[in-house]
């Protein structure tokens, strides 16, 4: 793993910041939510308290009651305000729905809201039961009555409705009028279709008549298990109590089975019609804010009035920036978008009886938006911090890697190379890298001292050995002039041969330093490389008859600046080397390839391939790898001289194996 990657991973550790921020946001969110719940509770309590004892605001009937009081009707015992029973839900109470549209009086339930929970069920026994749905729309009370009757029975048509023998199934409505009088109407139908209620009136002499009550009308429809009755009653008729009674007969004129929410003996009401006062909506509207829903319910839970602004925008803006939406995706938990609900009971004046309930619902949008806003700010900040930190680390890592790479390159080139590294990089730095660089520089300086000592050692040694060698040779020369017995002359000759060999060794040892000196004194001239090489190759043909020499050069003229003598010397060394390593009779090819700014000189020989690991070292000083059995002195300087001359010409020297192990190619690039 590279240093850069490691530091980058380290930098990514700063992502713990946004993570911690998210955690914090969640904490904050639950606190916020709690605060929101608390404020909602206190709001609902405030409104509930403001409604305490205000039955007149809550209930329509009590408003009627007060009206009655004002007219002096004595009914003090049972005013809704004081009667605790009024607010205690009884099974006979009817809580009408608020209808958004008036149902068509056609006997069908399709235009009623589909709300199974809103039905009131009354059951005397499994054979005698009915379900009632009530609703209010614009001062009208609507009833939908589903009666279970195995034998629906219509009145005998055409007869006096008061004639008992013609009685079929009948439905009684009983209610208290605004004056507190008990009133009853009945609905009788001789056939399916529209019906009009009738009121039983006692005339003179106890004569009873059934007069039509045209304000109460509806429709009668048979159903598979009984009949359905849809009715409309103006609310103005009704004061407090309201009830329905079914007279079920299986044969005309028979004694009915009566059941319902009216007292069966005198048809007086038991239950009430629980209906909100008309002002309640207006009152609630005072408290309404966007994103809020207020509802007043009866103690039993039926909604009396509702003010709804839940879906209204809260003024914090609905536009959600893309970034926020992205953040939300990570933060949102399911279910947190459900609205908050707080409920408070509404009591009567004495705080003894619960007369209703206030329910406040607040859309979660407000606090989620607040949370989102805080979260967005926080995430933006922490992510930006992370990005900056990661960026800074990346830059730092790149810089560090750059420095390290520079150090590495410098030490590599100092080791493999050529050039004496005089200015080692980073040594001026005050940090640990600078320390490393300084120790490296010291190390390399030592190494260079050592190498240059080794390099000059041969020359120095040659010089030092030359004096004793001269003594030996001059002594031998003198001895030649003396009277020496012929037997001793043999030894003299051997001694001379020995000194010659020693002399050869000395020459070889000093070769590199002589070339260095020659390079130091060389002059650059502009010349054509082609004839120089051609002439040299022609000379090699004579010098090494046991090898074939090829000279490939497509270009007619390759001009360059340099020292032709040195170039020839370079070629000498390469050819020497090629001759030494190639089998007798093989071909040595010299190739000149001109490049735009360089001349490429290649010498191929058919010798054994180089060990690839050692190929790079072939051009180092005092390095050699020669087959055994070679008696000539070698100090590994030949190719080093090649390199020196190549570098003098601004070039490089390299050795590669020819494909297929066909031999070795030495390549020298000379700048033109």
């Amino acid at each position: 793993m590279s240093l850069r990657l490691k530091l980058l991973l380290l930098g990514l550790a700063t992502l713990v910041l946004p993570w911690a921020g998210c955690r914090y946001a969640r904490e904050m969110e639950s606190a916020l939510r709690q605060g929101e719940v608390d404020s909602l509770n206190s709001l609902s309590q405030t409104i509930a308290t403001s409604l305490q004892g205000r039955t007149d605001l809550l209930y329509r009937e009590s408003a009627a009651e007060t009206g009655a009081h004002a007219e002096g009707v004595a009914e003090s015992t049972a005013t809704p305000a004081t009667d605790p029973d009024f607010y205690r839900a009884t099974p006979y109470d009817l809580e009408p729905l608020t209808l958004s549209a008036a149902p068509l009086l056609d006997g069908y339930a399709e235009d009623w809201p589909h709300d199974p929970g809103a039905w009131s069920h009354f059951e005397k026994d499994p054979h005698h039961r009915f379900a009632l749905l009530t609703g209010v729309h614009e001062r009208m009370l609507y009833l939908l009555l589903e009666v279970h009757d195995e034998h629906p029975l219509f009145d005998a048509p055409g007869n006096n409705p008061l004639e008992p023998s013609s009685f079929g199934d009948r439905v009684w409505l009983g209610f208290e009028d605004p004056q507190g009088e008990q009133q009853q109407v009945f609905i009788a139908a001789a056939a399916p279709g529209a019906v009009i209620a009738r009121r039983v009136e006692s005339g003179e002499y106890g004569r009873q008549s059934a007069r039509l009550e045209p304000r109460i009308r509806g429709a009668w429809t048979p159903t598979p298990d009984g009949y359905r009755l849809e009715l409309r009653v103006p609310l103005s008729l009704i004061g407090k109590g309201f009830g329905v009674l079914i007279d079920d007969r299986d044969t005309r004129g028979a004694l009915p089975v009566s059941y319902g929410t009216l007292r069966a003996d005198d048809l007086h009401t038991i239950g009430h019609l629980i209906l909100a006062a008309p002002q309640l909506n207006t009152y609630l509207a005072h408290f309404l804010q966007p994103g809020l829903r207020l509802a007043v319910t009866t103690p039993a839970g039926r909604v009396l009035a509702r003010a709804d602004a839940l879906a209204q925008p809260t003024g914090l803006g609905t536009e959600t920036p893309m970034l926020e939406r992205l953040y939300r995706r990570f933060i949102d938990r399911p279910g947190e978008r459900t609205p908050l609900i707080a409920a408070s009971p509404i009591y009567d004046r004495d705080h003894a009886v619960e007369i209703g309930q206030l329910e406040v619902t607040r859309s979660p949008e407000r606090w989620i938006r607040l949370r989102d806003r805080a979260l967005t700010h926080m995430l933006n900040f922490t992510l930006a911090t992370s990005a900056i930190v990661v960026g800074a680390i990346l830059v730092f890592a790149a810089w560090l890697a750059l420095r390290l790479a520079r150090l590495r390159r410098a030490s590599e080139s100092a080791l493999t190379g050529t050039a004496l590294v005089t200015a080692f990089p980073e040594t001026a730095a005050r940090d640990e890298l600078g320390d490393v660089a300084r120790s490296f520089a010291t190390l390399l300086a030592r190494l260079q001292e050592y190498t240059s000592y080794l390099r000059t050692l041969a020359g120095k040694l040659a010089h030092e050995i030359r004096t004793p060698l001269t003594i030996v040779r001059s002594s031998l020369d003198n001895l030649e002039s003396e009277e020496v017995p012929p037997t001793a002359r043999t030894y003299l000759e051997r001694a001379r041969q020995g000194t010659e060999r020693l002399n050869g060794i000395l020459k070889a040892m000093g070769a590199a330093s002589r070339v260095e000196e020659a390079i130091g004194g060389a002059e650059r001239v502009s010349f054509d490389l082609v004839p120089v090489l051609a002439s040299a190759v022609a000379a090699y043909r004579g010098a090494f008859p046991e090898r074939q020499f090829g000279f490939d050069c497509a270009a007619g003229e390759v001009r360059m600046r340099g020292a032709p003598d040195l170039i020839v010397q370079l070629l000498d060394k390469l050819i020497d080397n090629a001759v030494d390593f190639s089998p007798t009779g093989s071909t040595i090819t010299v190739r000149l390839l001109p490049e735009p700014h360089a001349a490429l000189l290649e010498v191929d020989n058919a010798g054994a391939p180089l060990d690839p690991e050692l190929a790079g070292r072939a051009f180092e000083s005092l390095w050699q790898s020669r087959p055994g059995g070679d008696t000539r002195p070698h100090f590994g300087l030949g190719l080093y001289i090649v390199r020196l001359i190549a570098e003098f010409h601004g070039g490089t020297a390299s050795a590669t194996n020819l494909p297929g192990g066909a031999g070795v190619r030495f390549r020298v690039r000379l700048a033109r």
């Binding site: 004096t467 001269t470 003594i471 002594s475 000196e517 020659a518 020839v568």
Partner: protein
């Protein structure tokens, strides 16, 4: 009277060996181990030829200094540098200081004696009037083998002995390539290729100093040199 050769050499064995060889050849020899001795003795009596080692005891370049001082005493005294060093720098410095020849110690004694004899011949020849028969003419070049002098367009080119022999070997057979070994044989020296190259360069420079268009001495790369008329 025997010619007097002064040998200034700090290595006793070499000194004595050279002295023995020169004595055998019929020269009178005086040997000195350092510059002070040599200078004192030469001040008393100037030798006919001086063979000087460059490094003398504790003076690494004492020979150069001695050469300069001897040259100050006599402009004609033939001086041969003899040294274990064969580096280019030494050769150039020695010759610039007025030495007549510059030889390395790996030169064999017979070679050395041949050079010394040649130098004496040259000294003698210079004292005699020029004998026209000895002069080789190749175009602008006039080469007097007896006096070992060279003229180009009638102007004297000052060449060292080695340089003269190189020019002589080449100019005698114009157009023929002489390789380095042949040149070394002709000059009675054993030199490595680079030294031959620098000798040739120096010869060219000396000619070019008189005639910028001089290009009679050509390099045949890989083979050697030739003289072109």
């Amino acid at each position: 009277m025997k010619r007097l050769i002064a040998i200034v050499e700090d290595e006793p064995a070499i000194r004595d060996n050279y002295a023995a060889a020169f004595t055998r050849e019929g020269y009178a020899v005086r040997t000195y181990a350092n510059r002070a001795q040599a200078l004192e003795a030469c001040g008393a009596r100037l030798p006919d030829l001086a063979v000087i080692d460059i490094s003398l005891e504790d003076e690494p370049e004492g020979g150069f200094e001695l050469c300069r001082q001897l040259r100050a005493m006599s402009a004609e005294l033939p001086i041969i540098f003899l040294t274990a060093r064969d580096s280019e720098l030494d050769a150039v410095s020695g010759l610039r200081l007025g030495a007549d020849d510059f030889l390395t110690k790996d030169l064999s004694l017979p070679h050395l004696i041949a050079r010394v004899n040649a130098l004496f011949r040259r000294v003698e020849a210079l004292r005699r009037p020029a004998a026209a028969a000895q002069v080789v003419r190749r175009g602008a070049l006039a080469l007097d083998a007896e006096r070992m002098t060279v003229q180009w367009d009638g102007r004297v080119v000052l060449l060292s002995l080695t340089e003269f022999w190189i020019v002589h070997a080449l100019a005698r057979h114009p157009g023929h390539v002489r390789n380095r070994t042949q040149l070394m044989d002709a000059a009675n020296v054993v030199l490595d290729d680079n030294t031959i190259t620098s000798h040739v360069k120096r010869i060219r420079r000396k000619f070019q100093a008189l005639d910028p268009k001089f290009d009679a001495l050509q390099t045949v790369y890989g083979m050697g040199y030739r003289w072109v008329e």
